[in-house]
Symmetry: C2
Subunit: 195 residues, 2 copies
DNA sequence: ACCTGAACACCGTTCAAGT
DNA sequence: ACCTGAACACCGTTCAAGT
């Protein structure tokens, strides 16, 4: 039996920050943020929990920062042609999908952690608006308004906020909102308000 | 020395759900959500941690649900006179203040917990719009859009999201946003987009 | 350089016991 | 009815040790 060169003692892929982050995201998406523990993450990576600290010296804090970066850093296409309204509509739809797909990370996005995670995304929104002819000041306002709306609406969707508790209970079908349509309608309100 | 009637053995105020919630909020506001533990909460109330379970049988989950309700349930004044734009502007300013004053609770608001906590608030926004003459469908959309914007923007403010990381570092004063003005400008974008 | 194993100081929660 | 104290099964993290 021929030995492969440079395999480590346990004969498995070496630990990397990326593999760690991906495994963590898989746990959060599948079991929820509350079940992401260093020991469970170690199990998923077939390694002792303490091995993770070698790659993430700041420990769990750094792990969570990485999750926020992985989910929240998704800039708009600043080189896209067409009306800025359409470019931003497409971005917003994708970003919403992202947040809903990783809803367990949303509480982390709403924290002071990893302040740089949203900077690139925000800058891209401003750039799309600026290139679309919107004045500098208005673009800055619109970028924050749009990003705020998308994050906040995603939060409401995750909560499944009923229109009216009573209506949801009594009139069947009145309480369950078509969230996709609701999101796009609200998006038009926001984009329509940009002067 | 005259004894007061009906004092308990330890001579202190009896534990109530309200006192527990208020003490918990004080810990979260002062030290952060991460430092809210049942043992520390017990200390603050001068009681063993296990005594709390007698008032909150579902334990910490129920405690956190109470915090969300306490912070996020703040309906608009549906009986106020004047233009609906002004009523909602006033509500939004107050609600933003509330969220920023209790920023540690924000991650909990963005969770599936306590789905009913926002229902009354959301219903009040719809009612203000409806009474202001906005059509039913548009009012439902506008209510979600507005609440989503306020929550999402508050989240961005808590993060202190710089406009542009590079600009914040190089050009002094360019990076630090006037968040109050920014919030009100975005609010006008949203309200201006409601047809 | 990279990982392990034991240990430490915490958690939330259960349960029997006290008053 | 209301609270206590000990106990249990976990946490994140440090540190000395292994290879």
């Amino acid at each position: 039996m021929v030995r492969q060169p440079s395999i480590n003692a346990q004969n498995r892929a070496p630990l990397t920050t990326e593999r760690i982050t991906e495994a963590a995201l898989r746990i959060v998406d599948g079991q929820g943020l509350g079940r992401l523990t260093m020991r469970r993450l170690g199990d998923a990576l077939e390694v002792e929990a303490m091995a993770i600290y070698h790659h993430l010296p700041r420990g769990k804090e750094q792990l969570l920062d990485g999750l926020v970066a992985h989910v929240a850093a998704a800039p708009a296409d600043t080189s896209a042609s067409g009306r800025w309204q359409d470019v931003l509509r497409a971005w917003a739809g994708d970003y919403r999908d992202r947040l809903l797909a990783h809803a367990g990370v949303l509480p982390l996005v709403v924290t002071r952690r990893n302040p740089a995670a949203l900077t690139a995304t925000l800058a891209s929104l401003r750039e799309v608006l600026r290139r679309g002819g919107v004045a500098e000041d208005a673009a800055a306002v619109a970028a924050h308004t749009l990003l705020g709306y998308v994050i906040g609406h995603a939060a409401l969707e995750v909560r499944g906020t009923a229109e009216d508790g009573a209506a949801a209970r009594t009139a069947a079908g009145d309480g369950d909102v078509d969230w996709g349509a609701r999101f796009r309608a609200g998006l038009d309100v926001v984009l329509g308000g940009v002067r």
